[in-house]
Amino acid sequence: MDKTDILNYIRDSIVNLDFEKSKEFTKIALENKVDPQEIILKSIAEGMEIVGKKFEASEYFLSELIVAGEIGKEITQILQPYLKGAEVKKIGKVVIGTVSGDLHDIGKNIVSMMLEASEFEVVDLGADVPVESFLEAVKREKPQVVAMSALLTVTMVEMKNVIEALKKTGLRDRVKVIIGGAAVTEEFAKSIGADGYGANAVQGVRICKGWIT
């Protein structure tokens, strides 16, 4: 097997959403002294791009985009020790959570995983997150973005509370705030002073990317 073949195999195993094969070929690549940077730039990046195009052409489901992202993440972790000190660079950091009183986390999880697949570092606080936890995470993690989700009308008001608390503690200007979830509308986002509103996961990630680059 020559180098190009190996790189293509890794790429294809990502496109085929095949966890096992992707790990296997990555090991073979390392055994064959393929440059880890090349695996990242050729196999993973190209694989993700193909999957992204297939999603846009309605050939793939969003769930498959997510799985591909996870495979890419796993390969990167395997490559980590061989990257000679150079950490894989993240493009930005997001603190994300479903607000207090709301146990719905599936939409939040999708956004979270898609952010990771888009090279964000994601600090996921989970569901039913109280205001204080958001504040602490902002202080501790120094993210560029705070993302909040709410499915229920009754819990939407919590988003406002978080933004108010960020203001009071002088943290508001350090972060962009984006919100989303079934109950939330663009107008509501504006009315509580959020910087962005994601009608769906794809759009939410696009907005976050726009803020960073």
């Binding site: 309605s58 969003l62 769930s63 498959e64 799985v67 709301d102 569901a127 009754v154 008001v157």
Partner: protein, 448 residues
């Protein structure tokens, strides 16, 4: 008790008629030849909760009088936040009970009153979050003592694994979560609920796999949405049938909760009357099954409407009116002996639009039910019925499935085929998820 046969045939599985009708509340008869509107509502956020429930109840019953609606059911679905406030669930129930009694006496209305308790357990620890479990049971006791006629819940055991699996289209994880974890949790939960219902002489109404099947339905979205396969959402619905059936095996008698579209299967197997939401549920979420689900309902619901001003009245009373006109057509058909014709219109208008609609067609549902009752244990029921469904979906050309749906179904069929029904293998499968799913603790489900 374990259901081993399908009680209703594709022909006798029809709206308004159940094999075992119920009678409760103010002389409300359910499943005995007519479909009854079940109206659901929630208070506005910034208002006093009790005052809101009072206003909602009054306006609904006033509208019933205006339209000469003789029979109806109200459902109060308690929220997580309401559950957290001491005494509130009982107080709300009592308040509504008084208003209902007043209207029943003054106008001779036949009214049933369902209260649904929220599953407030932390997703990750369905068994070990003992405080929340106790709180749920206390709330059931309280609402039963304060005037609820029917008790329901949308329980969420198994959801921590399901949430992980569904957004990855990981069919094995989905089967394991619904077919094993959810079912085990239901068994314990419903044993306890039925005990309370029997003590308080109220009806144990049943459970909804809302947290699973409706989550999948919402993820599937509209015809052109592409988040997860629509076939997967259909499979989750089918698998939910085995799960929700457990409530009835533990002693629930219906009417099953409206948002459980799997009630089509449950009604066929048990012969108990069922509630379903349909097209008017658009007020809460879009769906591709708005008509076909009407084919088999005994109560007909709007999912849930906020108490906002809609010019023609507040939300709940407006939707009661819409539901009522729907039920009038069904009931006229029942009176005229034309119910099969109308049922056929409901079915045919949706059946081939989407796999999610397809599996709810009575003739399809019947075959799926046979697969369910043909197996002995929870997991095998779930697995086999899902497997059979993949074949049915792949083999009916009229469905005109998109390429990615076919690809998904074929891969899924292979995966399900490879899944061994052997209990130790199932355990092994489950255990494999524990490191991946943060809050998952498999042992919790077995150490009951």
């Amino acid at each position: 008790m374990r259901f081993k046969e399908v009680t209703l045939s594709p022909d006798t599985l029809i709206f308004g008629r159940a094999k075992y009708p119920l009678r409760y509340g103010h002389n409300l008869e359910v499943g005995k030849g007519q479909v009854i509107p079940e109206i659901k509502y929630f208070p506005r956020v910034d208002k006093d909760v009790k005052e809101e429930y009072g206003k909602i109840t009054e306006s609904i019953l006033k509208r019933a009088v205006d339209l000469d609606i003789r029979s109806l059911q109200l459902e109060t679905e308690l929220t997580y936040l309401e559950m957290r406030t001491k005494d509130l669930p009982g107080d709300i129930t009592q308040l509504q009970r008084h208003i209902i009694d007043r209207y029943a006496q003054e106008y001779g209305l036949n009214i049933g009153f369902r209260v649904t308790v929220a599953d407030i357990r932390d997703l990750g620890r369905p068994k070990h979050d003992e405080d929340s479990y106790m709180k749920i049971m206390e709330t059931f006791e309280s609402v039963a003592s304060n005037g609820a006629d029917v008790l329901s819940i949308e329980s969420e055991g198994g959801k921590e694994l399901f949430n992980y699996a569904i957004i990855r289209q990981d069919i094995l994880g989905v089967v394991a979560s619904i077919g094993q974890l959810a079912a085990l949790d239901m068994k314990k939960l419903w044993k306890d609920i039925v005990k309370i219902a029997n003590n308080k002489h109220v009806i144990a109404g049943g459970d909804s796999a809302c947290a699973f099947a409706n989550t999948a339905m919402r993820l599937a979205g509209g015809k052109r949405d592409n988040v997860i396969a629509h076939s997967l959402a259909a499979l989750v619905r089918v698998m939910s049938a085995s799960r929700s059936l457990v409530a009835y095996e533990e002693g629930a008698v219906g009417p099953g909760k409206d948002c459980a579209y799997e009630n089509v299967f449950i009604k066929a197997i048990t012969g108990y009357p069922m509630s379903t939401e349909g097209k008017s549920a658009a007020v809460a979420h879009s769906s591709l099954v708005g008509n076909i689900i009407a084919a088999t309902c005994d109560l007909w619901s709007n999912e849930q409407t906020e108490n906002i001003n809609l010019f023609g009245g507040c939300g709940p009373e407006v939707f009661l009116e819409i539901l009522y006109y729907d039920t009038k057509i069904m009931n006229t058909a029942l009176e005229m002996g034309k119910e099969k014709e109308l049922k056929s219109l409901f079915v045919k208008s949706d059946k081939y639009v989407d796999p999610q609609a397809y599996v709810l067609a009575p003739e399809v549902a019947y075959e799926i039910c046979k697969a369910i009752v043909g197996e002995e244990d929870f997991f095998s029921r779930t697995l086999t019925s899902a497997y059979e469904t993949t074949s049915m979906l792949l083999n009916d050309d009229r469905l005109a499935l998109a390429k990615n749906e076919i690809r998904f179904l074929e891969a899924t069929r292979t995966r399900l085929e490879g899944l061994n029904k052997n209990p130790s293998k199932v355990q092994e499968l489950l255990t494999s998820y524990e490191p991946k799913v943060t809050k998952l603790r498999i042992r919790d489900y077995f150490d009951v």
